[in-house]
């Protein structure tokens, strides 16, 4: 299945749009209510990070998979300031914006595969996969 959804992320409304599209795609692939909610929550966190830290970016949601079954691939991309210490950003409780600071480690727990690449001054790309169980 080749189905890619691109949601530009600039405002709070875009955060809602992205997570709703993610949930709809998850449900259409046969994900359970719980797993669809996990996908929607993870997208919401990443989209929130874009609005808070980078101001603008994009979330790409794709139906993916292999012989094991379908999965959802989400790529959150921004051209913001980047994260200088990814190790620190992946620790529970770390935040530079006074938020709860459990965004990234929390997202990592919600999904099956998690990857982050960040370049200071260039931006951040966070990629995750959630498989249908």
């Amino acid at each position: 299945m080749n189905h890619t959804i691109r949601v530009p992320i600039n405002t709070d409304k875009d955060i809602v749009a992205a997570r709703q599209k993610g949930r709809a795609l998850a449900l259409s692939l046969g994900f359970s209510e719980i797993d669809s909610t996990l996908v929607a929550t993870a997208i919401s966190e990443l989209a929130r990070n874009i609005v808070t830290y980078a101001k603008r970016g994009e979330i790409r949601i794709e139906a993916d998979g292999n012989s094991k079954g379908p999965c959802i691939l989400v790529i959150a991309k921004d051209k913001g300031a980047g994260i200088s210490n990814i190790k620190l950003a992946l620790q529970d409780g770390f935040s530079t914006s006074g938020s709860l600071g459990l965004g990234l480690p929390g997202v990592k727990r919600l999904v099956d595969e998690f990857e982050i690449v960040s370049n200071v001054g260039k931006g951040t790309v966070v990629k995750f996969r959630k498989w249908k169980t």
């Binding site: 669809s36 909610t37 929550t41 919401s44």
Partner: protein
């Protein structure tokens, strides 16, 4: 507010709630989040702030209606809403407040 909660709305809610508590001299506030499809760290932090502000005004907040799958995702995410009273639904929330006010009267 029966809508998919845009974070702008929840921030607006924060101000409206606190103003309301002041004007009405409320003792108890129930926030029903049944309509919320997810609760991310931003939404939960804002709810917690609302509850804390209301507590400083001498009133009590009860969050009701967290859906099962939302609760599941919250725990995975690491959100506990610690220090905030929660109840199953509106009825349970009202019962909680009634009991509390009866016992303190």
């Amino acid at each position: 507010m029966q809508t998919d909660v845009v974070s702008g709305i929840i921030v607006h809610l924060r101000r409206a709630m606190v103003e309301r508590v002041v004007i009405a001299r409320s003792l108890g506030v129930i926030i029903d989040v049944t309509a919320m499809d997810i609760m991310d760290s931003f939404a939960s932090r804002t709810l917690r702030e609302i509850a804390q502000m209301i507590r400083l005004r001498g009133a009590e907040t009860v969050i009701v209606g967290i859906q099962p799958e939302v609760a599941f995702a919250m725990v995975q995410l690491g959100i506990t809403l610690e220090g905030v009273v929660t109840a199953l639904d509106l009825e349970e929330g009202l019962n909680y407040l009634k009991q509390k006010f009866n016992s303190s009267a």
